[in-house]
Amino acid sequence: MTEISMTVNGKAVKADVPDNTLLVEYIREHLRLTGTHVGCDTSQCGACVVHVDGKAMKSCTMLAASADGADVTTIEGIADGGLHPMQTAFKENHGLQCGFCTPGMIMTATDMVKRYQADGKELTEDAIRHELEGNICRCTGYHNIVKAITDGASKMTNA
């Protein structure tokens, strides 16, 4: 067992977990934050993406122990009351069908928007499609997800 403490969605949390506990297991099963999903469990689908110290990471491919001391944000923690601009964009652009991949899509989307803004680069449709390489959606064919991220990026810029 390893004792871990971290900040999740602004709240300090602490637990004694088995050493082989994945970060996603800790988030879902210990903290009961079930918005973060496990789709493939093989690091391919991106449904489990959360932000660790401000960077998008696959929480199914990281040990909880490795996140000791980190600042973690999950889909439950991105909005300050109501919806985050990216969530609004997904809603308005019908950027989901079954919705299973959506938490990971949104966490990946906000990460890419922040990175492109920081680098002063334009987030083109091509760039969005390339950046979504690690997120799989089995319903939509991605078209509306790309539209939603384009819209969400401008909403985040103007927010």
Binding site: D19, N20, M62, D111, D119, E133
Partner: protein, 265 residues
Amino acid sequence: MYETKYHKASSVADAVSLIGESDDGKLLSGGQTLLPTMKARLAAPSDLVDISGIANMHGIKVSGSTVTIGAATTHAEVARNADLQAACGSVACLAAGIGDAAVRHLGTIGGSVANNDPAADYPAALLALGATITTNTREIAAGDFFVGLFETALSDDEVIVSVSFDAPSKAAYAKFPNPASRYAMVGVFAAQTANGARVAVTGAGSDGVYRQSDMEAALDSDWAASALAGVQVGSEGLLSDMHADAVYRANLVKVMAGRAVAGCA
């Protein structure tokens, strides 16, 4: 995943002693290969020694023409580093094409090199650039380091601390990714170095990364994609699998080498 014991190393010396004390321990860096392997129960190390937090294993230093990259530097950091982009953009560009954005935030150059996956990208760059792999005990030339499939010259309790190379006058990496996994079906790193033209191929060789010396000779006499036209790439010694047979890979080696040379900057 089987049970394991997690340790966080505070220094290289600490990591060496922790791994030495363990029964069948493994170093954990970004974990983007090791953790999926453990989850699939294809690996069951008794101990994991996390080296990702060791401060002096992070960062990129460009001093004159020499580039040194700490082993725990992530692919995302390599891809976005302005000094590296200026000194050797081909390596930054290669890093930007590894895995996906989330994987690049965790995966590290040291981890990739130590794993020596036959389809990994970095080995091609390090072999072509004649890089030096520095461990806690010695310096190993890339040509001696990559031994075979998932096999390197590292001993069990040896820790890669950094990799370094001289920035080439021109270089580029061209990869044909597997459409599903995005791993290199064939990746070619071409470089014009102080020691002449270098062409290293990943994804294709059944012993892992290798140098295509006939292409190097052709490029030494004429650095142009057209100079490769006369080079015959045989299929002997190349990987064959459900994605691409050896003959197809042999053709890809030639096509990607041409693209790498044409794309050199």
